[in-house]
Symmetry: C2
Subunit: 463 residues, 2 copies
């Protein structure tokens, strides 16, 4: 007989009613009452487990009744309507075959555990409710992103993880090396001889795929990257990890408006997709992780995102009468308190802030005719603040070179990037979305360590 | 007026005929004949370009006629049936607006370039036919893999890139560090003090996500990883790169037969998907890159894969009467010549070879009752040799620990992995597919450097 998945029992209950099925999975809960008992069987295919009823007519009743949490079993039985509270159907077992009785030391017993403790058993935690929900949603969200872009003909580019360019400047980098640290080869002057390293030069882990992505945008028009990126920043906060995944689309013959349209469409699509595909998980988050989660997400889905320039936003903040910790003046980088005021109290929905002062933004952003601001955009959302950041790119060779010199970058380090402005330059735009940031927003989880399977943070690379 | 994509012109020609459209893109070819001329316009959305006809009635006819390859333009014009050979429709331009005339130094002029030369301009090469085809297929193949697994409810796991375990043993590793190479902190005895490194210990780039993946298999039943992996091996061959992508599914309550079934279904699905989605690119490969490509792929699609044990395979090789460079004896690792003989000459289709001697396979593979062989499987395919490798995993704690000691591994280094055998151990299986290997097989490209956007190989990390 073919194995039936628990997911199928829940999604197509009618089809299975009064029929015999064979299941395999793990004991999540068990209680016995002398002559019969109940197993909550989870087989990994579904957030919920199915109730299996076993009784003393089974030849190995004693063995079953003594099973420990996490034990693995094969069950044969009949699907019937359930009288009990809490489930509409259950499986009356005709056979329960024990594959392995789990050691009683199993660390994930049925009681409340702190998230901190669960991080120490990151290899076990996805077997519990919260992390089973988090990591299934992580998978579905990741697919939603691919689906959104691929269905519109975007080309997915695998930009390199190991980068030879030390010129990206977006953050502290990890060095990648095969040199022996205790006795590295040295030049005559005592400096490290990187020509003897694996790649013949110093290499690091990427902090962004954007510059490489732009080169493929010139070939395929619309592209996206989706891969791991790295920051060697010693910040032990709930929002920073040394290794995280990022999505970076880049679109050709597209200005900042098209970029905002794309960002809004993407955010709405992926939220909707997760809500449709993972109703049980989302219900769990809304009950146990973040009250008001659905309200928050529906507010994103059901409103056109706001649009405001940085200059207007500064005026709104100044006129608000609010006392901010960081005083507001034109030219400052908006702080979290300002971003949240704009999204949560003023606009009460996601809002794009555009046209920031060039001094606080990256060198590659397109200069506005006012010579003071650039075609940047940050999307601020209620409950989280900045969620995507992007811009139209400077596609004029002279302006870009001039800007690079202003900020002390060497154009010769970026020759491949400048080539895009030499050979058929084109208006183009793009943005970056931190995948874990989005996942935290959708699930309500508040620590990035709790949405990454095996998080990497300062002094921690467990498993 | 909305921009029309060239892809839409080709796929829905009827819809556009005799209507005006607006296009934007790059000049791929141009020729002028005094009073009129032709542009082959590629907009990145499609493998082929559309023919744009311009004539001297246009006010900027002189400017257009002098455009260089790669120049970017906006075109307005009418779609009409074409009389010319080579296309069924063309666009008669009423307006051609030049966005940028590309520098005449553009390195990708319309003549034959060697693949070696094109690697030096990896930021430009996807604008040419071969690499436009390769990298669009790369994207579609990557999506096919996600689609295949997600539609069956597999959970995609992002296993860590930076790994603290120095115990995977699958190959030479890159060290990841923030220590200053020229003056690293040292212990009293002169050795490097890795506790001062970013993660408080030595860390490396992952060589496989399998062990981490197995832990999620215990929670979600069926999972897959799809991400970058690394080898610091100094091998300068056409089949090795230091950074490449790998797919590693892992399935629970599944033996080697289920594993083979999954492998066969996946290979067929992804080949079929690419052939359906990229007919123009596949046609190009079959004409210019590998004669007989379709025959090779259809042979895979239209046959049940063969199955043979290693022991039987050795007999077949011995009886073949063929003279091999490496003589065949039970116990040897099969060489490329043996693998190709089996797939190409004996079975003439893909074939799974199973149950290899334990000595030549990894420690985690399930021991057979004969105590000599393990439940391993390699899939050999005509024209390439080994394409996937996998096994049923040893799920018996004692046997696994014993095997680890036999091969001088320390069980205490793998405690998280052994926990899976303590807490509800379950039969499970999985395999690894090298993504680039598969891409080379589907496209006919013979050098791995030509299927990776920015390849990383010894002494090379360009861009």
């Amino acid at each position: 007989m073919q194995t039936t998945l628990v997911k199928s029992l829940f999604r197509d209950t009618e089809k299975h009613l009064d029929k015999e099925v064979q299941l395999s999975g793990w004991v999540r809960k068990i209680r016995d009452q002398k002559s019969f008992g109940f197993i909550e069987l989870n087989d990994g295919s579904f957030f919920k487990g199915v109730q299996v009823v076993f009784d003393s007519n089974l030849s190995n009743f004693e063995e079953i009744a003594k099973l420990s949490i996490a034990s693995s079993v094969y069950v044969t039985g009949k699907v019937v309507k359930s009288q009990g509270a809490g489930q509409t159907f259950e499986v009356i077992a005709s056979k329960v075959e024990v594959y392995q009785k789990a050691s009683a030391e199993y660390p994930l017993q049925n009681k409340r555990h702190t998230f901190e403790f669960l991080r120490e058993i990151a290899h076990i935690r996805p077997r519990g409710n919260t992390f089973s929900a988090v990591f299934r949603v992580r998978s579905v969200l990741s697919y939603a992103i691919h689906k959104f872009f691929q269905e519109q003909g975007f080309v997915n580019v695998h930009t390199p993880i190991i980068t030879g360019s030390d010129a990206e400047g977006a953050g502290e980098m990890f060095r990648v090396t095969t040199l022996k640290l205790d006795k590295p080869p040295r030049n005559a002057d005592g400096t490290i001889d990187s020509t003897q390293d694996f790649f013949g030069k110093e290499t690091n882990l990427t902090v962004s795929g954007q510059l490489n992505g732009e080169t493929f945008c010139a070939a395929f028009r619309n592209i996206y990257t989706f891969g791991p990126t790295f920051r060697a920043e010693n910040s032990n906060t709930s929002r920073h990890a040394a290794e995280f995944w990022m999505i970076e689309p880049e679109i050709a013959f597209a200005d900042l408006s098209a970029n905002m349209e794309l960002g809004e469409a993407m955010i709405k699509y992926i939220i909707r997709y997760v809500m449709e595909q993972c109703p049980e998980e989302m219900e769990f988050f809304s009950q146990f992780i973040e009250k008001g989660l659905f309200e928050k997400l529906n507010n994103v889905l059901n409103n056109d995102f706001g649009k405001v320039t940085y200059t207007e936003a500064v005026e709104i903040l100044k006129r608000s009468g609010k006392k901010f910790e960081y005083p507001v003046e034109w030219g400052i980088d908006l702080q979290s308190e300002h971003e949240r005021f704009l999204a949560e109290e003023h606009f009460k929905k996601p809002v794009f802030v555009t046209d920031y002062p060039k001094e606080i933004k990256a060198f590659y952003m397109k200069l506005n005719p006012d010579q003071k601001t650039v075609r940047a955009m940050d999307l601020l959302a209620p409950g989280i603040g900045e969620i995507i950041g992007g811009s139209q790119r400077e596609d004029n060779l002279e302006l870009l070179e001039a800007r690079m010199k202003e900020v002390n970058l060497h154009p010769e380090d970026y020759s491949f990037y400048l080539d895009l402005r030499r050979y058929g330059s084109f208006p183009h735009s793009g943005f970056g979305l931190g995948f874990e940031r989005m996942l935290m927003y959708i699930t309500g989880m508040t620590n990035i360590r709790d949405v990454i399977p095996f998080p990497r943070t300062p002094k921690n690379a467990l498993f």
